[in-house]
């Protein structure tokens, strides 16, 4: 039994990293822009479909462009729709991004049909490795390494570059940053685009594992919201810790009480919010009080 618990724990952590990748963009967009992006799952689905379309036409390597294209779509969406929501009633953002999510699903259905489309990992990532009772597929290891790399790079970008400082300052006090002569709208467009790019990357990496259908956003958006809520809205570190906690909890519930596996992350969220209503790393932000 100990072997099985160890095996499930490792698997849960690997699954958690995929969840982190999906959730981190949502967390960034809320933390920096104050927008609760219900369409985040839609960008995840768009990333998966772009990977499918590019991979089908030009081969697997072309699919790597899917996150960049998703980020580019994010630029257009931010400039046309999202930027009108800054500083407005939060409910407007919820309604608009919810409508955007429905629209994106309908457009994907129109273009690709409702039936699932196939997409496989490249051959060199097929297979798995075993260390005693632990089994990890090469593809999931690739997802883990990619996620860690992306998180480290993004953290370094925020912490050590002038652009990162502007973003962090803008997220706390946009008026002051604007008064310093910084073109904040362009910064916000960039932030939204990065959030969408990360969602697209999540879609690309999940495509060989999940079913690619227009409704696949639903499977991504709920864990993402749970992770962001557990971690604390807008918290980078919080999303990472919460993602790993959710992965671990889900895997352990499957081992011992499988029929509860769908509800496990919600119970975890409820328990944490009872103790820490702002989430594990949530802070009091004047902007949102």
């Amino acid at each position: 039994m100990l072997d099985m618990i160890l095996s499930q724990a490792v698997n849960g952590l690997v699954l958690g990293f995929l969840y982190v990748l999906i959730a981190i963009g949502l967390s960034i967009i809320f933390g920096m822009l104050g927008i609760v992006n219900f369409a985040h799952g839609a960008f995840f689905a768009v990333g998966a479909y772009l990977a499918y379309a590019l991979g089908k036409e030009f081969g697997w390597w072309a699919a790597l462009a899917a996150p960049l294209l998703t980020g580019a779509i994010g630029v257009v969406v931010e400039m046309v729709l999202i930027r009108h929501l800054y500083g407005k009633e939060p409910l407007l953002g919820l309604i608009l991004t919810f409508a955007l999510a429905l629209l994106a699903e309908a457009v994907l259905r129109l273009i690709f049909g409702g039936a699932p489309v196939p997409f496989s990992a490249p051959k060199f990532l097929a297979g798995f490795v075993e260390y005693g009772p632990i089994l990890i597929t090469k593809y999931r290891m690739f997802v883990l390494v990619t996620t860690v790399l992306v998180l480290v790079l993004f953290w370094a970008f925020l912490a050590y570059t002038p652009y990162g400082r502007i973003i962090r300052a803008g997220s706390r006090d946009p008026e002051m940053v604007g008064l310093l002569g910084i073109n904040l709208p362009i910064v916000f467009t960039g932030v939204f685009s990065i959030g969408c790019l990360l969602a697209g990357l999540g879609g690309l990496l999940a495509a060989p594992l999940w079913t690619i259908t227009p409704s696949m956003a639903a499977g991504a958006i709920m864990p993402a919201f749970v992770i962001v809520t557990i971690g604390g809205l807008g918290s980078f570190e919080g999303a990472i810790v919460a993602g790993l906690l959710v992965g671990l909890t889900t895997a352990m519930t499957i081992q011992f009480q499988p029929e509860w596996s769908g509800a496990a992350m919600y119970i975890l969220m409820a328990a944490i919010l009872l103790v820490r209503p702002r989430g594990l790393f949530g802070e009091r932000w004047e902007r949102f009080e």
Binding site: M4, S7, Q8, N11, G12, V14, L15, L18, E105, R109, G113, G114, A115, P116, V117, P118, F119, S120, A121, G127, F128, L135, T137, Y139, R140, P208, L209, W210, T211, I212, T213, P214, S215, M216, A218, G219, A220, P223, T250, A251, I254, Q255, P258, E259, S261, G262, A263
Partner: protein, 420 residues
């Protein structure tokens, strides 16, 4: 919130001023010297309700089910009893949503019959509305035994063979592979029926269930379940997960290196479930209700398959056929009844027969279950056609007596049929 409805008979016409004048003049001329025989009822289109998912985990199959239903009416030039007819299609996001859609179709749209219920839980919800409102309802996809068992009613008819029938056909194949089974089933009526039916079979035949997990609908990651299966070392894994959940499972089953190591079997799968898996990961032994390449398909089915492919530029999936036949049985019955009166349509549905291969299929009087053959299919070892995954091994049961035995008699049935 008002949901948009879709009518397949409705078309948008752009008529210019001259066209309008010409049309009006022609219409007036045609009326000259003729008595007016129409009335308000004749001008009204006959409405048929269709409830297939537009959102949720079963939406992939529902698209084909809906297209099949639309095709059945189009093949009649969108007319019934000499009057225009149209389909009103509403969503079924969950069982409550399915029930509300059925109530809206009956109360607001005044439909004369309904087809739908992509998942068993949805079909049971619609069936309860059909019973209460006394409106004929054909459940074309749901497989739970309750629908034509303990929850049967005079107004509900079911096309898909119930889980027990699928299980009676597939279980002997699985037992021939090995007697240690692991069950991975969805945590709702369909999955629970599969769990019960296969557990009963293997325990009655000297085998054991080495593990059984119920999986929530919409589970995005099966790796932890697969690790449990791997540790249990069963001879066969019996699946009971539907639509895109099955697709996801098979992709991850392959990813974790299980394809070809432990055989996987499941009843009542759809073409679309496998098309989404891809040739590299597709695996398993299945029962299916219909296959577009089956040489035993009737001429009418072949015509339907050709019309579908011409319209949608892809082969007709089994779900398209189910949507088509479910709708066709209802439309045929309205014509047979020469009426839109619910009681007359129900009696016509009970008498309705359809030729498939060497036998007539129809709905049985005592439980309103359609009896027909099933196909047992594996997956081609090498898939060269992106639509052609199934390697059909048998069409069972073979004789009418065996079919009657597989579906069970009225004495075996839990259905206590009510009256009109």
């Amino acid at each position: 919130m008002t949901e948009p409805t879709k009518t397949c008979a409705a078309t948008t016409l752009h008529i210019g001023r001259r066209g309008l004048l010409l049309g009006a003049t022609s219409l007036a001329a045609s009326r000259l010297g003729m008595p007016y025989v129409g009335n308000a009822a004749a001008a009204e289109p006959i409405k048929i309700g269709m409830i297939w998912a537009k959102t949720g985990s079963i939406v992939d199959q529902a698209e084909y089910l809906a297209q099949g239903g639309m095709l059945a009416l189009e093949q009649r030039n969108n007319t019934l009893l000499g009057r225009p007819a149209e389909i009103v299609w509403l969503d079924e996001p969950n069982p409550q949503g399915a029930q509300q859609s059925a109530e809206r179709l009956v109360g607001e749209q005044k439909v004369v019959g309904m087809v739908g219920g992509a998942l068993s839980s949805f079909a049971l919800a619609i069936s309860s509305v059909a019973k209460k409102a006394k409106i004929p309802y054909v459940a074309a996809n749901a497989a739970t035994g309750d629908l034509t068992g303990k929850s049967c009613n005079k107004y509900t008819f079911r096309l898909q063979p119930p889980v027990d029938v699928h299980a009676r056909i597939l279980a002997p194949y699985c037992a021939s592979i090995g007697k240690k089974w692991y069950l991975l089933t969805a945590s709702y009526a369909f999955g629970q029926d599969i769990k019960r039916a296969f557990t009963d079979y293997i325990t009655a035949n000297g085998g054991t269930v080495v593990g059984a997990d119920e999986v929530p609908v919409g589970t995005p990651d099966y790796s932890s379940f697969i690790l449990k299966i791997r540790a249990a070392k069963p001879d066969v894994v019996i699946g009971g997960i539907a639509a895109s959940d099955l697709t996801t499972f098979l992709k991850q089953w392959n990813e974790l290196g299980m394809k070809g190591k432990i055989p996987f079997a499941e009843i009542s799968v759809g073409n679309t479930d496998l098309w989404g898996v891809g040739p590299e990961a597709a695996d398993g032994l299945y029962t299916i209700t219909w296959w577009y390449k089956n040489p035993n398909n009737s001429p009418e089915e072949q015509a339907m398959a050709a019309a579908y492919e011409k319209r949608h530029n892809r082969p007709a999936a089994d779900k398209a056929w189910m949507g088509w036949l479910g709708m066709k049985s209802l439309l045929d019955s309205i014509e047979m009844a020469k009426s839109t009166e619910p009681g007359a349509i129900v009696q016509a549905l009970e008498a309705w027969k359809y030729r498939r291969g060497d036998m007539d299929v129809g709905y049985r009087d005592f439980d309103h279950q359609m009896t027909s053959r099933l196909l047992v299919a594996g997956i081609h070892p090498k898939i060269s056609d992106k639509w052609d995954y199934f390697d059909v091994r048998a069409e069972l049961p073979k004789t009418p007596d065996e079919i009657a035995k597989a579906f069970g008699s009225s004495a075996d049935s839990a259905c206590k049929m009510d009256t009109l």
